[in-house]
Amino acid sequence: MQKALSQRQKVLVRGAAVLSAILCSMLVLVFMGLNPLTVYANIFKGCFGTFYRFKQVVYKAVPLTILSLGCCVAFKMKFWNIGAEGQFYMGAFAATWAYMLFPSAPVAVLLPLMAIFALIAGGIFALIPAALKIKWGTSETLVTLMLNYVAQKWVSYLKYSYLPWRDPHGGGSPKIVNFSENAVLPSLLGIHIGWLIAVLLVLAMYFLLKKTKFGYEVSVIGESFDTARYAGINVSRTIVIAVVLSGGLCALAGMIQASAIEKSLTDNMSNGMGFTAVITTWLSQLDPVIALVVSFVFSVLLQGGSYLQTSMGVPDSMGTIIQTIIIFFVLGSEFFVRYRFVFDKTGGEK
């Protein structure tokens, strides 16, 4: 029997899902001979125990949030951009390129320039799958996936085989030169300013998607191509703008990561966040504000996971496993959000 649930019931169902997921992951922990309460206490301590650890959470939440915003725009259009990871790397690469071109430019010029380079690189990189889809109907999911590998290999090429960017003081292991101070994002309240950028972007995207004509057009295209065309929306143009925006945001996350955290370009700087962002975006129901919350929760689990490694000797992939268990439950719970069970006298479900 299908009947829409009230908002309160929906929240209840999802809450129940997360709760059962936590219980289930506790069972997994017990099975592995760990005390789940200690594990969770350690996750909490690892995230909020000291300001340093809290900073680590924010460091993870900033790129994850911005990546989620990027995915959000594309997903709204049912354009399955799984390429956040690749766009992230291209953004970091382009920002580094800008730095290499003007290494001694003043901060006020260099940082915006790096951001612009990143936006353009990410936009172009996301445009490839969009163009292929519009022109030949190629699956954007697979193309963006493949491009992730291309981007990552490109950055490893720069790191291992491209000599002009090599750090001469790197010692035995190849490494790209570190940025000088003028290419590093400043801090605000002790944490790099990326957090403020992320929050502002969340508000901007919320406004763009919910309150503007463009946002409306994007959702219409997501609902039905034909409807959009019939309504007089310039479908190709809107798709191109939305996709460039999506890729640009993901690339901006890469620029922030390169500038504020790595202070260089590395070939493992994303830590798979581009893929995590796909999941956080979906969990947030494509709502920018909820995406911020979900990204923060995920960052807590990630940071908690890496703290577990140092404090309890548990591999940090434990955080990933707990995360996926939670998502599995939430995915499953959607069923109970969409359909309401009615048990009749024979006990069968309707």
Partner: protein, 315 residues
């Protein structure tokens, strides 16, 4: 020259075999109407659990079987969420991949410290079939391979015959095209989907274990290195045909081993850096997808209901 080319072909097949398992697994998923982005995860689960069983028991049969069941276990999570609870197939597949990666990397530390015994490894070494392996050029490629490669061929041919000549094969094709019609004709859609998805997971698991048990022969972090994703793309390229899957996988293997060879051979006086050559399979996959789009043919399209959940009561 001919001998070295024959050797090259032999290696090409070995380099593509895990992809072949992945593609066949993917075909089982997609023919039943289930989009599958979890191949990579199930391959990693298979690689890790196969290796665990192999290094602990020393029994190759048990190792391969555990790999298959580990893949199926991953597929079961996917099946329950997408078939029974009708969750989003794309996201569930992605999460399955993350899950498999997490579990494999969790076990990785332990696995890396427990090597496989020499006698265990020898059970996967090449077997030359008498006479046949002496055929010039293709003898080594087809008839001087490990058991794992022979079995992959058997699976491909069995699947082809299954879809073409058996009633069950016909039924599952009907489900992939139009589950409502299949349901109306009395086919148990849910049961069929479950069985095929689990079988697909089994094959993906075998593919992962081929890497850890035979091809690489030791544990490496992230041992599949994106092979699962390539398999996903190749399911489309081979137009859901198990026989074409063999060619696709081997062509991929040839391309990959060619790229490997180029790392030491200068081309036009330059050594191309390995990282750039590593991009080739991914770019080739994109080119392949575009070519598929150019040659749009009705019979080359995927199952009509791919990715759409079936709900009896919504007809």
């Amino acid at each position: 020259m001919i001998l070295s080319f024959a050797l090259f072909l032999q290696v090409a097949v070995q380099t593509g075999t895990h992809i072949l398992y992945g593609i066949l697994g993917g075909i089982l998923f997609e023919k039943s109407g289930q989009t599958n982005l979890g191949t990579e995860g199930m391959m990693l689960l298979g690689a890790a659990f196969g290796y665990l069983a192999g290094s602990a028991s020393g029994n190759p049969f048990l190792a391969v079987l555990s790999a298959g069941f580990a893949g199926s276990a991953g597929a079961l999570i996917y099946a329950f969420i997408t078939i029974t609870l009708r969750g989003n197939q794309i996201v569930t597949g992605l999460v399955l991949t993350t899950f498999g990666t997490g579990v494999a990397s969790f076990m990785g530390k332990y696995l890396a410290a427990s090597p496989l015994s020499a006698s265990f490894k020898s059970s996967f070494s090449v077997i030359s079939l008498p006479l046949l392996s002496k055929i010039p050029l293709i003898g080594k490629m087809l008839f001087e391979q490990g058991i794992y490669v022979y079995v992959s061929l058997v699976f491909a041919f069995v699947l082809w015959a299954y879809y073409r000549y058996t009633r069950w094969g016909l039924n599952i094709r009907a489900i992939g095209e139009n589950p409502a019609a299949a349901d109306a004709s009395g086919i148990n859609v849910t049961l069929y989907k479950y069985i095929h998805v689990l079988a697909g997971g089994f094959l993906c698991g075998l593919g992962g274990a081929y890497l850890s048990l035979s091809f690489v022969g030791q544990w490496q972090e992230n041992i599949t290195a994106g092979a699962g994703w390539i398999a996903v793309a190749f399911v489309i390229f081979c137009t859901w045909s198990p026989l074409k899957a063999i060619l696709c996988a081997w062509a991929f293997g040839a391309l990959n081993s060619l790229a490997m060879k180029c790392q030491s051979v200068p081309i036009f006086g330059h050594i191309i850096p390995g990282q750039l050559l590593d991009m080739i399979p991914y770019i080739a996959t994109i080119v392949v997808l575009v070519l598929m789009g150019l040659h749009f043919k009705k019979e080359n399209q995927g199952p009509a209901s791919l990715g759409i959940s079936f709900f009896r009561e919504e007809r």
